[in-house]
């Protein structure tokens, strides 16, 4: 007999195992529809959903792989296999077999009733397989811990720690549950073979099978099945019944007297604990190639006529099985998945999974509605029964207060949620529910924090990148500027005169065109900005636009001024040229002007002929006169000297004055211009009146015509 150590705390609730304990595990008809949860059975913590590998309408065989983890590297997710042959239906949202009771995606499988296996690959000699091959086989078979935590077995067996002792957990300490008990009675050989295979895989030198002393038949059958003189020493240990001896950390303490450090696993002490149902599943997967699609589940509680252990295919809806066992819905107080201490309320429509070890359909007498929660009286009973040596009343205090930091400091995450504290609480406080709620909240907060940290990192990287780009842009601009200045300096050094002359000799026309372009673009810009400002609604932007408009206006003014200056300059230059020209040149120019006038008048004459205008006779006269003048000028031209004349001061001054007037006229506003025009027209009308009164009779009609035209124009202007 091995020496055993006591655990701290622990309780002795009524066992209630006799209802199902020594009966064979039965098989019930399978349902028409299976609902396979795409979420991993991972105890309280749900993982990422699995990715279905089949589409709606696909024919599947029993044991065929139908869903696996999206992330291939993630060996913490186990694949899902079809529990029977049939057709894949839709993906539906159904209640999960999870304490949160939330809805989750389920893959629907419509059974064809044939229950045909897909081809399996058995291994006649599993002990001769490579370690990695074994791990792959276990992973592919979708095996996870069937005691309740649901941790993927392949990931657990691939531990980096050296393992010297493998502990097979057959304690099953929680009341009501007898699934492992019955399994040990019926499948002792498979369990022993599976244990030996796992020990072989881990390289463990010792196997300890731990069973509580309230399972005499299981102990007997396992003892009978124990092989003699095997390479790893295998022994059976019977434990005194105490709840929760089956928790992995508690079991380590009972068997070895060692405590698993906070935040670590038993593997760090060279120990590994695996459930009996899990080792059996490992053996079946490796020896016969069967994936995990079926498990033994206890159906108990007084609301059932027949209480028994049942082979349950995963994905079977609970109510389907309950109805077959004579479920009295009217007398059902609570429907619980798991044991009465650690389990949770189950929706009858939920489907069972790989970790569902017990369903309790308790009658109202058996489990009446819990009494009202009373205030904590600090009696300290929870403290004395806590197997994890925590301070339950303190944790309760902080959980109610949502003081997550203090909860973490008080090692909330070392709580195994065994429910011993809730069981003994005289105030009927559902302590474990508070802890579970707080744990979920902390996990959510941590998830948010990781997201925030990720966003911060990305934001900072973004900022750095933008700044870097700005710096690079500036550097490039700087480099361009320096390059430009050096090139210009070099050019100046190489050929200083030509560059200057080209600068000076730039034709005036070009300059004018350029200035015109400037003015035009400034006008366009102003127009665009004004339009934008009218459409803009945000005040801050409007202000900005207003500033831009002002700037554009200034630029436009500048351009106009420059253009005017340039015009004045060119005009004065032209005038000076004119004044300095020789009589010959002057005459030539006069001749040119006359010729131009002649062409214009001829044009007008032609138009008048077409329309038969009243000015026809006047125009014919004007053309004749102009032709005479041109003849005269051509004759005179040859007699004139070619030497340039020196214009006297008076002429120059008069010219300057004329220019100034011109410039002044240019700067007049449109109204002023109009006014000036009106005045000049009026003046001309007066002169015409004078001329009409003094001239010959034959000219009077022409003059009258002109007068009429002028008067018409004046009227137009006034309008």
């Amino acid at each position: 007999m091995n020496k055993l150590w006591p655990i701290s705390g622990g309780i002795h609730p009524p066992q209630n195992k006799q209802q199902t304990q020594n009966k064979p595990i039965i098989r019930l008809p399978t349902p028409e529809c299976f609902y396979l949860s795409l979420f991993q059975d991972r105890g309280a913590q749900l993982g990422e959903p699995l990715q279905p590998l089949v589409t709606t309408g696909a024919q599947v065989k029993k044991g065929q792989l139908i869903a696996e983890s999206k992330n291939n590297k993630n060996n913490h997710a186990v694949p899902l296999h079809a529990p029977t042959s049939g057709v894949i239906g839709a993906i539906t949202q159904r209640p999960l077999n999870h304490p949160s009771g939330n809805l989750g995606a389920h893959l629907e499988l419509i059974s064809d009733g044939l229950d045909q296996w897909c081809p399996l690959t058995p291994n006649a000699e599993p002990f001769k397989l490579e370690k990695t091959t074994l791990l792959t086989l276990i992973q592919k078979a979708g095996i996870c811990g069937m005691g309740g935590a649901g941790f993927p077995t392949a990931a657990k067996l691939a531990t980096p720690f050296p393992i010297h002792t493998l502990i097979i957990n057959g304690t099953e300490c929680e009341p009501y549950i007898t699934a492992d008990d019955c399994l040990m009675q019926e499948e002792a050989d498979d369990i022993i073979s599976g244990a030996l295979l796992c020990a072989h895989l881990l390289g463990a030198s010792k196997i300890q099978i731990a069973i509580e002393d309230n399972k005499p038949l299981a102990i007997k059958n396992i003892y009978k099945a124990l092989p003699k003189n095997t390479a790893p020493h295998i022994e059976l240990t019977t434990l005194p019944t105490i709840y929760p001896s089956g928790g992995s950390k508690q079991l380590v303490q009972i068997l070895t007297g060692q405590q698993v450090p906070s935040g670590q696993q038993a593997a760090s002490l060279g120990l590994m604990i695996i459930n009996v149902a899990t080792v059996r599943a490992v053996w079946r997967a490796v020896r016969w190639g069967e994936p995990l699609i079926e498990r033994a589940t206890t159906f108990t509680g007084n609301a059932l006529k027949q209480q028994n252990n049942v082979w349950v295919k995963i994905g079977t809806p609970v109510n389907f099985l309950l109805n077959q066992l004579g479920w009295d819905k009217n007398n059902n107080g609570l429907l619980i998945l798991g044991g009465p201490l650690m389990g949770f309320n189950l929706n009858a429509h939920a489907a069972l999974g790989k970790t569902s070890n017990c369903v309790i359909a308790a009658s109202t007498d058996e489990m009446p509605a819990p009494p009202m929660e009373a205030p904590c009286i600090r009696c300290g009973q929870c403290d004395s029964v806590c197997p994890a040596q925590l301070l339950p009343q303190q944790l309760f205090w902080y959980a109610k207060n949502q003081d997550f930091n203090r909860l973490k400091n008080h090692n909330l995450f070392d709580c195994i949620e065994c429910g011993a504290c809730s069981y003994v609480c005289p105030s009927a406080i559902p302590l474990v529910q508070y802890y579970r709620h707080a744990k979920a909240e902390i996990r959510t907060l941590e998830f948010k924090k990781t997201k925030a940290d990720q966003a911060r990192t990305r934001f900072e990287a973004h900022q750095t990148r933008v700044q870097q780009a700005e710096i690079e842009k500036n550097a490039k601009r700087q480099a361009r500027q320096t390059a430009n200045t050096t090139i210009q300096a070099q050019l100046k050094q190489a050929a200083p005169t030509p560059s200057e002359t080209t600068q000076k000799e730039q034709p005036t026309q070009d300059i004018e065109a350029k200035l015109n372009r400037h003015k035009q673009s400034a006008q366009e810009r102003l127009l665009r900005l004004t339009l934008q400002a009218e459409e803009e609604k945000i005040p801050a932007r409007k202000e900005k636009l207003a500033a831009s408009i002002k700037q554009a206006q200034l630029r436009l003014n500048e351009a106009e001024q420059k253009l005017a200056e340039s015009n004045a300059h060119t005009q004065s230059a032209k005038l000076t040229q004119k004044l300095q020209a020789s009589p010959h040149q002057q005459a030539e120019q006069a001749l040119n002007t006359l010729k131009k006038q002649l062409t214009i008048t001829e044009e007008k004459l032609r138009e008048a002929e077409k329309t038969n205008a009243p000015s026809l006779s006047a125009l014919t006269l004007a053309v004749q006169k102009l032709q005479q003048k041109i003849q005269q000028a051509t004759l005179d031209l040859n007699t004139l000297p070619t030497t340039p004349t020196q214009p006297d001061a008076a002429t120059l001054a008069a010219a300057e004055q004329a220019l100034a007037r011109l410039a002044a006229k240019k700067q007049q506003s449109p109204e002023e211009k109009q006014q000036a025009l009106k005045e000049s027209i009026e003046k001309r009308i007066q002169q015409l009146h004078l001329r009409i009164s003094t001239s010959d009779a034959d000219k009077i009609p022409i003059l009258n015509e002109s007068l009429a035209a002028l008067e018409a124009r004046l009227k137009e202007l006034e309008r």
Partner: protein, 203 residues
């Protein structure tokens, strides 16, 4: 003269008590000064630690609703005395945490800067309408939009903070905010009052 010639330098120092006290205290001061100087150099803190702490509380959506170009500038502003109630994405929880950290009264959220939403959102680009102008890519503070000029863009939903800064620059209004589904593993659990496991103690 005979008196002076008979005593050594050490004896002379020890002779007048005030002088020895002065030397002892002076030496002590010098030593402590050295220690402080060394500590000031050795344990120098880079940056303002309070800004880091405030920044750690802020939700890091980088949305700019507080009027600052990101969460860290707002953290800096709070450290310089700005009001703590200008963060709509953080909501009342963030305000309470800031109030706790800074030892001030928690204020209600300033409605001028937006209203807190209980639903997390994520930007979504209607891809067939996207013209590939890259304007949203430039606006995104966390580089969560993928795409190139004249090619369709898309939002990396897992990186999007839901700040909606990409909505405004879009010339064809093909971006919309969609509510983000909380992963099922992070859905809140029901509070204990409703679901209680009855224990078997009555039987």
């Amino acid at each position: 003269m005979a008196f002076f010639s008979e005593i050594t330098l050490g004896q002379f120092i020890l002779q007048p008590p005030w002088l020895s006290a002065l030397i002892a205290l002076g030496g002590l001061c010098f030593f402590c000064g050295l220690l402080l100087g060394f500590a000031a150099l050795r344990f120098r803190v880079e940056g303002d630690p309070i800004v880091e702490q405030i920044d750690a509380i802020l939700p890091q959506t980088q949305c700019g609703q507080c009027g600052h170009p990101g969460c860290r500038p707002y953290a800096q502003a709070i450290a310089n005395g700005e009001s703590i109630n200008r963060c709509p994405p953080g909501g009342q929880d963030t305000i309470n945490a800031l109030a706790h950290l800074l030892g001030v009264e928690p204020l209600p959220l300033d409605a001028e800067h937006g209203v807190a939403s209980s639903v997390n959102t994520v930007a979504f680009i209607r891809e067939d309408e996207c013209i590939g102008c890259t304007k949203c890519i430039q606006a995104c503070p966390v580089d969560a939009i993928l795409g190139a000029a004249k090619l369709m863009h898309t939002v990396i939903a897992s990186e999007c903070t839901g700040c909606d800064l990409c909505l405004d620059p879009c010339p064809v209004d093909c971006i919309e905010m969609r509510p983000l589904e909380t992963p099922i593993q992070f859905l809140p659990w029901s509070n204990p009052s409703a679901h209680i496991i009855a224990s078997s103690r009555t039987s």
